[in-house]
Each structure stands twice: as C-alpha cells, then as structure tokens.
Amino acid sequence: MKKIYVKEEWCLGCHLCEFECAYANSGIGNIVLALKDKEIDPNVKVLSDGKITFAVSCRHCDEPLCISACISGALSKDETGAVMVDKSKCVGCGSCVMVCPYGAVRITKEGTANKCQLCMNNTFGEPLCVKKCPNGAIVFEEK
C-alpha cells in the first residue's frame, strides 16, 4: 500500500504542506476562498526542534492502535489498507488521540476526530501535500 513518507533532509519548514492540506480538505475549489481569513487545522503538521523540520501525518499503521481504541467504530481500514474516519459515528471521546504514538489524530473544533486520509476523502484523490511540496520532502510510495 502506498503511504506518505517524509525525507527530513529535504524538509525546509516552509509549511506549504499544511496550507495545501487545509485547502484540499476544505471542500472549496478556489484556494483563496478556502484559506482567506481562516485559521487552518490541517491533517499534516510541521514539527521542528530548531535544527530538523519534519511534516507529521497519519502513518496508516499496519496494526492501528487508534482503531483498537475507538469505542464507536468510527475508525476503520478500507480495502487499500488506509485508516479512514467516519465522522458520523465519532463521539469525540479522544481515545484515538491518546493512543496514537505519532500524535497524528486530533479532535477538531466540530468535536469529532480527524486525520490524514491520503486525500481519498476529497476531490483531489491523491495526497496534495506530496504534489505541492517544493523540495520533494514528502513522497507517496510503496515500501
């Protein structure tokens, strides 16, 4: 299964992946309308310790701890192996947030869990952070 991998030696900490992710998942076709005057809450976050920068998003683990922890069955693996979120089932308990070792899941302002779903849940169909990274630091490949 193709997953998103980050090459930290090429990450420039420019944060473009965050904004493109917010745009991809906004449901709005025009990027200006999608992002203007909005506080973004993207599925990928750029972390830095001052020396190394790195974009963190859901690892779509082979044995997802979040799915085991989910009390309402909102998290599940689809036929490709990607971990998807069904917001209608989510009760906002936050168990998935607590068990994820990567901090890749969060509870959004709407009160439900959200995380990277490889852009398969939006019109782009293919991860936009990968496409828009200016330095090839995020790749979408099979390993």
């Binding site: 420039l12 944060h15 203007k36 090839g136």
Partner: protein
Amino acid sequence: MIDYNVAPFEVVRDYDKCVNCRVCERQCSNEVHHYEEGFGKMISDSTKCVDCQRCVCLCPTKALKILPNQNAFRPNANWQQKYLTEIYKQAESGGVLLSSMGNPEPFPVYFDKILINASQVTNPSIDPLREPMETRVFLGAKPQTMQRDREGKILPKLPPRLKLSMPVMFSAMSYGSISYNAHAALARAAEKLGIYYNTGEGGLHKDFYKYSANTIVQVASGRFGVHKDYLEDGAAIEIKIGQGAKPGIGGHLPGAKIVGDVSKTRMIPEGSDAVSPAPHHDIYSIEDLRQLVYSIKEATEYKKPVIVKIAAVHNVAAIASGIARSGADIIAIDGFRGGTGAAPTRIRDNVGIPIELALGSVDQRLREENIRDNVSLVVAGSIRSSADVVKAICLGADAVYIGSASLVAMGCHLCRTCNYGKCNWGIATQRPDLVKRLNPDIAAERLINMLTAWNHEIQEMMGGMGINSIEALRGNRLMLRGVGLNERELAVLGIKHAGEV
C-alpha cells in the same frame, strides 16, 4: 550620512489573494517579508529584495509579483541611472564593484542575428522520427598519420578522447561558488546523459570521485585542490588560462564562503579569501604552456585529453593557433557573456569579445593554417538554447559548454547576487539551510529533461537541414545566414547575408 541607495525592486502583494501562510517570510534569505501581528497582515521591505523570484514561485495563491522600482531619476541616455547609483556606492565604500553572472549590457547578441537553413525540394529534409539521427561527438586531437600493420590493415590508434552522447557539456563552476548539492546534480545528470561536467577551480569533493568517468578536472591559476588523485580522477584535465566573464584576471571567492568542505577540497585554510592569481605563475610564454600540458600528460600517463580554456579576447585567433601547436587536445573558448560567481563589474561588462565572432575567427584561422585537426573546439559564453548550440556547431565548434543555462534549469532566476552567498535557490551559497533547498534528485532530473529536450530539438533542426549526423553540421557555414549584420561582421563570422544564395 545620506542614504543614496535606491531600491531596484518593488514587491507588490495582492492582499485579496494573500492568505498569510508566511511561506514568503520563511523562504526569503534577505528577510524581505514578515508577518506583522498587530496589523494581521504581511509586510514587505522592498529595499532588501533582489528579485530572485523565490517568494513569487512558492506563494500558493500567486499573490506576489516583483516589479522594477518605478522611482526614476531624470531620463538621460548617457548618464543612465545605473551609472549614478554605482558612483554613489563607490563614493560610500571606496571599493571595487562586484557583480555575478554574465554581462547583462545591451551589446549585440550575434546568435539572435543568425538564421538556420532548412532543406526543400532540391535536397530533401530527413524525418528524425524515422531515420537515425546521430548527435554523438568525439572530442580530441585527430592523429596526424595513419599506421598500418604487416597485412596493410589500419591500426586504430587514437589519441585520448572524450565521447559525448550529444554536443553539450556542463561548464566549469567551482565548488565554493556553487553548492555541494548543485555539484551532485550536475555530476549525476552528466553520468545519466553520457556527457561531462567540470569541477571548476574549487577542486573535487571526495564524494564525487565515483563520477570520475564523467568529470573534467580543472587546473586553474590558484591550483586549488590539485593533487595526484585529483588528476587521476578526471576523464580529462582542463588548464584554465582565462574565463569569459573576467578575461585577464583570476577567480575570487570571499573568505566567508571558504568553510568546512569547501576549504578542505580547495586545500586552503578556512576563512581565507581564495584569490586566484591573474596568470599561472609558471606560464609566461607559449613554450611554458606546452611544458605544463606535457607535465600533466606525463603525470597521467598520456591517457587523458588535455583541454586549455581561454577567454575570448581581441587576438583570440592567434592565441588559439599557439595552443593548437602546444600539444593540447581541446581548446575551450569562453565568450564575454560567460557567467561567474563574482567578478569586478567593470571587467565583466567591458572586457572580452562575443563568442560567435571569436569562434568564427578561430575556426577560420586554424583551417587556414592547416591545424584545425590538431584540436577540438568547445565554446561557451551564453549558450541559451538548442538553436544556439546548432549555430555554434555550424560556425565551427565541436561541442558547447553550458554554465548559466544549467543553473537556470536547476532554479536560478539570474538575480545576479551570487556574491552575497544568500542564494534562495540553494545554488550559489554555502549556508546549510539554503543548500538544503536544492534537492539533487529534483535538480538532476531537471537537467536531464532540459538536455533531452535540447537533443530532440537539435535532431529536428538537423533533419530539417537534410543532415542526419552532427559531423556534417560542424563548420558548415553554408547552413547559416545573417540578418542585420554589416560586411565586416559577416566576414568575421564567415557567413552570407540572408537572401544571398
């Protein structure tokens, strides 16, 4: 003290499109943009902008553009604004003005006044999609005599040569003036394409020895990084006598760029300015050059071709004639439009001659003296497209070197501020946070794409002329016609005017 400096550029931001993502702020090494918390919007300090176009390219909503600063001095055809601002700078600092990249002044560009032929009816063109089109080139001296064995069969003994899959090589750009990642991209692309890249006068980094089959090592007047393994590790050795951007003087790399690996590769202490002397201090006559050529050949067991690189100056034809008799295998001529990491502005803008004229004159002179076969000619000094390559070959070159064009392929926007060492594209800098911006995988792919495209274009143009092998193009001046050139220019180039049969 009055600040006479006028910002050359103005950053224009469309606030309707700006989404405050701050990419421009994070990616500008000149600190032009920043997010002002109190106002809730991005502010730009245009005085620091060098028009490198990094922010413009990265902005996700394309909200930025850079315009020339419309603030204008009173128009004056003679005292153009730049002469005034340059005097203000010198009155303030007392220093020599430094510039980067090639001569930007409006001298004539002869490539743009030369047109290429195409065949019709009397001599049909060839379809490059159906017939084999050969762009493979050999560089090196041709043997003077043919030897046969006892049965009369030819003995195929050739002097050492370079084999190129197409008549283009990457020009010399030193490690120090450009980054480690830029060199990595050039080396990888040269290997993949089957051509060569040149180390420049900064020596060869240990990590690139594995590309030795595609490396030309340069021995410049400062002899930076020259030791036995260095010579062994090149496919050819280039003695740099001069460079098109700064004929008559040597290279200059400020101490700030001589750090870490750059200092180790050049074999000089960190922080010391790397100033190459103007002449090679052991070459003061043509006989001395011959001596150096042969010492290098001895040191490498006569297995590698020796290139001598000169700048195009007034008597370049006579100089080339001397070099052709000195034992060199290839002569590289760099025209006055050639690029540089840093050169005194006055020398870059006023010294040297155009490569087209130099090439026409050298090729004709060597043919007249019957020594054209002693050497191959490689030219440089602003080859910008495949059309320039074809025109250069028709004028007599065997191959071309591309310097600025390769950097542009990797992202350079010719902002011409390489000498500050803050290249936003990760090319002309040694700052690790900036060098990181040039991913060699991406850069190498771009170089390969560009030259693959150029190769197809060259084949298309050749096919159009009814030629299917690059050898038939070399020196074929009948394939060129000039437009808007006077008698003298046509004579020096050796071509006819458009309309003449």
